[in-house]
Symmetry: C2
Subunit: 196 residues, 2 copies
């Protein structure tokens, strides 16, 4: 029987560079498969359906919720985001390690569903830096930024529930650290009630 894959969960306050780091990790040859989230938010320029997200209508998303087709789902900034069950389950059964890039609440749900998940929290080098990054995003307006910063504070409070904290002070270093965590965790011995 083939050994099931491992779930790697990456969370970060909005604007911490999570998307960039996850892309870097996937390219770094760590052998991870990305879980593609579903969302109702509009496609940003350059985003590809089925790769960056599965872009869905609100009606379709709500139908999937009722049909229990999500591992976790949430509504932030007015948009729905969710992790399709089938997709992740199939990858794990094939023995593939899956990368889930999700928010703190979703991460906690995944930890309950897959207790062996490796939980990684990405921290911005500083809150001031994070503010600058959020301001740099031209697609976001001032009201949106303020709203996000309030959420950031709430999200930061969850860091202690993760297994690892990676500070994103340099993209290269942070990607190296993420890859190291994947390589190391594959060699970690499972212990009941310890890491499971």
């Amino acid at each position: 029987m083939k050994k099931n894959g491992k779930v790697f969960v990456v969370s970060a306050p909005s604007g911490s560079g999570k998307t960039t780091l996850c892309r870097g990790l996937l390219k770094a040859g760590a052998g991870l498969y990305p879980s593609v989230s579903a969302t109702t938010r509009p496609k940003r320029p350059g985003e590809i359906n089925g790769k960056d997200y599965y872009f869905m209508s609100k009606a379709d998303f709500q139908r999937w919720i009722k049909q229990d087709k999500f591992l976790e789902w949430t509504r932030t900034y007015g948009w729905y985001y969710g992790t399709p069950k089938k997709f992740v389950g199939e990858l794990l059964k094939k023995g593939h390690d899956v990368l889930l890039s999700i928010d703190v609440k979703g991460a906690m749900k995944i930890k309950r569903l897959y207790p062996g998940s490796v939980m990684i929290f990405i921290k911005p080098p500083s809150l001031r830096e994070l503010k600058e990054r959020l301001k740099g995003r031209k697609s976001d307006d001032t009201k949106e930024i303020k709203k996000r910063l309030r959420i950031v504070n709430k999200e930061m409070a969850f860091a202690g529930r993760y297994d690892y904290i990676v500070v994103n002070d340099s993209i290269t270093k942070a990607v190296d650290a993420l890859k190291a965590i994947v390589v190391a965790e594959r060699r970690r011995i499972k212990r009941r009630g310890k890491n499971e």
Copy 2:
């Protein structure tokens, strides 16, 4: 106050390539400080006193035991091996991470003295392979090899008490894995009763 360093313990059955891997890890720029063991066994060609080992007389070693100057010590194959307390303690106080390359019994003692130690067990790719490696060492005679293989079996039984298992099927890959463990562990969140 400066944060204390972390102890990384590497153990392996005799002939698993532990010495080569530890040298590789130290050279890989992981920022580890090696703990130099003391021993009463004769110096092998190319070994340097104070670098590979502190070579001591039996009388001196036994005096140090009485003076409680070792973190752990053992007698194998008729020779004494020990980890000098002072040396490791000073490095940790300075905030340096220390690499201890020691046998399974010594490793268990270290785990009790420093519960936060990261325990790594190196496995040979196969016992047949290990036999070949031991035979390849011209300095060992047949009787010695048989004795070692008996001990190998005993040592292998300890693997489950470690945090990580690294299979030495390729030196490069194994050194990369060791480095990844060091990088990852530095980002690991300590939890009472979990990893401490």
